[in-house]
């Protein structure tokens, strides 16, 4: 136990995804961060009686503890960002592009992972642990040309310290008032209650049998008194994850806007956007229930996941013409994309994007974009049934395949021939089968699927945020003596055509490319 004055620079943040929500695990991923505050929401409530005493604070009692809410800000870079996105959106879909090069796709899921977070304060040998933590907010903003995340956590429970409730001088069992938050991977210290700079004993643990007992590996050989304080010892040698370069705005990002059908698949690069921000939020609700009378029972018994939103989406540029006001007036759906590129990741060759139309595995029709490159992944194909004739249409990067009401006309051969005759794509068929709308169950509703596999040559790390259905909010033009900066504010609609399982994913999609396999 150090008695030096606390110093922020010597602290650390460590975290780990939990297996069971609210059951602490031993954090082993360390992250650099810019700023946070550590809440201690031990709520003391008051009983204000109306007679006998003029004091308005005559009696206090232990209230239900609110969840601990933390906000941590840290630079957006390609490695740690994946953990934050996974925590905010729910489990990722990871794919391997090549050996050591991975792509992570995040869309809002209906379930959310929980995390255990450790904070060490410089000058202290022990940590504060928050567990059952859910991400309530993940906001991206440009700060002095660097992209920064601000992460809001709602912690179901926390462990700062516990007190011994039984004096002991031998054996291997410590009896205390809280063990929730302690894991068998931890080392604990017992501090003298009368002088908490004095460490009486240090133990590793073989078991955490109950909420009020710990089993130590070492035999207890000193006298420990009731009220002595148990803390979790900090990691002596935190191993920091190799971080990539921070994502930057000017000189590192591209913003593009789409206005047509499937606008985020048909964006055009803008050249005048000077700022960007957005915030992904999970509405969370903590629940305090009567679960017992231990200290931990005063903390929330669970955290419920409610709605998802994308808010505070802003773009700024100098007003040049009324195009955005026109889009606002007509309630147009716009597709917004910001793509940050970072460090060199691979020396790969460019590859063309493709899509295979599944037909029960008996026959296939595979479409490939003529031009190689990542932009080919924006091509998408929608299958519509019951048409007057088999037809394929290409508008921008949207391919619509209309199947003939007469099933026999929808052979893989004819489907491939129709698509192949379009411009900019090629299509080949294998086997002999009929293409049906029911075959393509992996497509979201409506039966639309994006191409994949398109790669630019010599790929870099990437963070790409897509807002597929952005709606403008009222625009105010500040007229003064100077150029007029238009601050565009958006909300993110879910795609009404995709009601049901697909509607959340139409609000925001994030793609991260880096050298980390999974999150």
């Amino acid at each position: 136990m150090s008695n030096s004055v606390s110093y922020g620079k010597r602290g650390y943040l460590a975290f780990k995804k939990e297996t069971t929500a609210g059951a602490a695990v031993y954090p082993d991923t360390f992250a650099e961060f810019l700023e946070t505050t550590l809440p201690n929401p031990w709520n003391i409530a008051k009983t204000n009686t109306v007679q006998g005493n003029r004091s308005l604070n005559t009696r206090s009692y232990i209230g239900a503890y609110e969840p601990a809410e933390l906000e941590v800000s840290l630079p957006a870079e390609p490695t740690i960002s994946g953990h934050l996105l996974n925590g905010c959106f729910g489990d990722e879909t990871a794919s391997t592009l090549a050996t050591g090069i991975y792509q992570h796709d995040f869309q809002p899921q209906n379930t959310q992972d929980s995390y255990t977070l450790d904070f060490a304060v410089g000058g202290e040998d022990y940590i504060t642990r928050y567990f059952g933590c859910r991400i309530s907010k993940l906001a991206l903003a440009i700060n002095d040309n660097r992209a920064d995340w601000t992460v809001g956590f709602m912690a179901q429970r926390w462990f700062v310290n516990a007190r011994l409730t039984v004096a002991i001088a031998t054996g291997t069992t410590l009896t205390l008032d809280q063990t929730s938050g302690i894991t068998t991977s931890d080392t604990i210290q017992v501090l003298d209650a009368d002088n908490q700079d004095t460490v009486l004993a240090t133990y590793t643990l073989s078991a955490v049998p109950t909420e009020t007992t710990l089993t130590t590996v070492e035999t207890i050989a000193v006298s420990l008194a009731v009220g002595d304080v148990v803390v979790i010892k900090r990691n002596a040698s935190p191993s920091y994850t190799a971080l990539g370069s921070e994502f930057i705005f000017t000189g590192g990002a591209e913003i593009s806007v789409g206005t047509s059908t499937n606008p985020v698949d048909n964006t055009t690069a803008t050249s005048d956007m000077t700022n960007f921000s957005c915030e992904f939020t999970n509405n969370l609700e903590a629940e305090n229930a009567a679960t017992g009378n231990d200290v931990v029972d005063r903390m929330p018994s669970r955290i419920n996941l409610l709605g998802f939103d994308v808010s505070d989406i802003t773009l700024s540029h100098l007003h040049a013409n009324p195009d955005f006001v026109d889009a606002l007036r007509s309630k147009d759906s716009l597709g917004l994309r910001i793509k940050f590129l970072g460090d060199a990741l691979a020396s790969n060759a460019a590859a063309a994007a493709s899509l295979t139309i599944e037909t029960d595995g008996i026959g296939t029709a595979s479409v490939t974009v003529d031009a190689t490159g990542e932009a080919g992944n924006d091509y998408n194909l929608t299958i519509v049934g019951g048409g007057a004739a088999l037809a394929a249409a290409l508008s921008g990067k949207n391919i619509t395949l209309t199947l003939d009401a007469v099933a026999a006309n929808n052979t893989t051969t004819l489907v491939a021939a129709a698509i192949h005759a379009l411009t900019g794509v090629a299509c080949a068929s294998t086997g002999s089968d009929l293409v049906t709308t029911a075959d393509n169950t992996d497509m979201t509703s409506p039966l639309k699927k994006n191409f994949s596999g398109g790669r630019d040559a010599s790929e870099k790390t990437m963070l790409r945020i897509d807002i597929p259905n952005a709606k403008l909010q009222p625009i105010e033009l500040p007229i003064s003596d100077g150029l007029i900066t238009e601050e565009l504010k958006f909300t993110s609609d879910h795609d009404r055509a995709g009601q049901g399982t697909g509607n959340l994913s139409s609000m925001a999609k994030v793609r991260l490319r880096n050298a980390t396999a999974t999150y």
């Binding site: 004739a389 088999l390 037809a391 394929a392 249409a393 290409l394 508008s395 921008g396 003939d404 006309n409 051969t413 004819l414 491939a416 021939a417 129709a418 698509i419 192949h420 005759a421 379009l422 411009t423």
Partner: protein, 49 residues
Amino acid sequence: MSKEIIKKAGREFEKEILPDGTVTVTLLPEKQMEKSEKEVKKKTEEEKK
């Protein structure tokens, strides 16, 4: 706007390019082809008689 008839996989398709760049390829009915072929054949036979 341009239209052309193309033959692929033993069938005829109509390819249409609209001014906005939209390309549509539609499979033409097979029965019409057969019918018209039969009519031509019938006419030729009648002419021979």
